[in-house]
């Protein structure tokens, strides 16, 4: 049971969150091709180490979060709300 430090709720057990996988960018629908679109759908980096992920605090504040996690150690480097993810 990982501890994820939610920026709004503080440290919480990971079973309060839904894992949505590595973040990916949605191609512009008007211009996309089947290959490009399906890479967006199916192909991830599957990084061994630093991964940029999206989690959802479904049983807490219901905010979507950008999580930087080391997939080898499960160490979590940072958790930010998608709203201020750039910050």
């Amino acid at each position: 049971m990982l501890v994820i430090v939610c920026p709004h709720c503080g440290p919480r057990n990971s079973n309060e969150f839904t894992f949505l996988g590595e973040r990916s960018t949605r191609p512009a629908v008007a211009a996309t091709t089947p290959a490009a679109w399906r890479h967006y759908l199916y192909f991830k980096n599957n990084a061994a180490g630093e991964a940029g992920e999206r989690w959802f605090h479904v049983s807490g504040c219901r905010r979507f979060l950008d999580v930087e996690r080391d997939t080898l150690t499960n160490e979590i480097r940072s958790v930010r709300d998608v709203g201020e993810a750039a910050g």
Partner: protein, 165 residues
């Protein structure tokens, strides 16, 4: 649709009993309380806190929104949660240890002092927990989706025998 509206209809509670005496603490069904969701608050209630205002409790468990328990607040957008959320109150010396059987949150005074509010899992159900001590006695108000209330109530009763140990 809050209680005491013009309705003559008979209200029914989501749980079987109004109260349950679990020895070191009491369960009370307070589902009938009017509850509201708003996106503005002029009392300045901060995230993670709950405060009393003229008979109402205002709490914040998610950024930019508040839950009001009591009279309908005066706000642009108000969603009535009265029937959406059931309310169960645990009061008594053993309330915390009972809750610790079904809730992973650190309920100690440093992490969850009186007046703290949070949404978390209680008996596997997303629940707003408000620590609302009454006359120095530990008390927690739990709000959860109405259809789960019976399950949660029964889980609390099932855990009770173990609290002694």
């Amino acid at each position: 649709m809050s209680m005491g509206g013009e309705s003559v209809a008979e209200y029914s509670s989501p749980v079987a009993a109004a109260t349950a005496d679990l020895g070191s603490c009491l369960l009370h069904d307070e589902s009938h309380l009017a509850k509201w969701r708003v996106w503005e608050d002029d009392h300045g209630v901060e995230l993670g806190r709950a405060s009393h205002y003229a008979g109402s409790i205002v709490c914040a468990v998610s950024p930019g929104e508040w839950i009001v328990i009591g009279d309908r607040p005066d706000a642009a957008d108000v969603v009535d949660l009265t029937h959406v959320r059931a309310a169960i109150r645990l009061t008594g010396a053993g309330a915390r240890s009972l809750l610790e059987h079904v809730c992973a949150l650190d309920l100690g005074d440093s992490m969850t002092p009186n007046g703290a509010a949070a949404r978390t899992l209680v008996a596997g159900v997303a629940t707003e927990i408000i620590r609302d001590d009454a006359a120095g006695e530990p008390s927690y108000l739990l709000l959860m989706s109405r259809s789960f209330a019976r399950s949660v109530w029964e889980r609390l009763e099932a855990a009770a025998p173990a609290t002694s140990q």
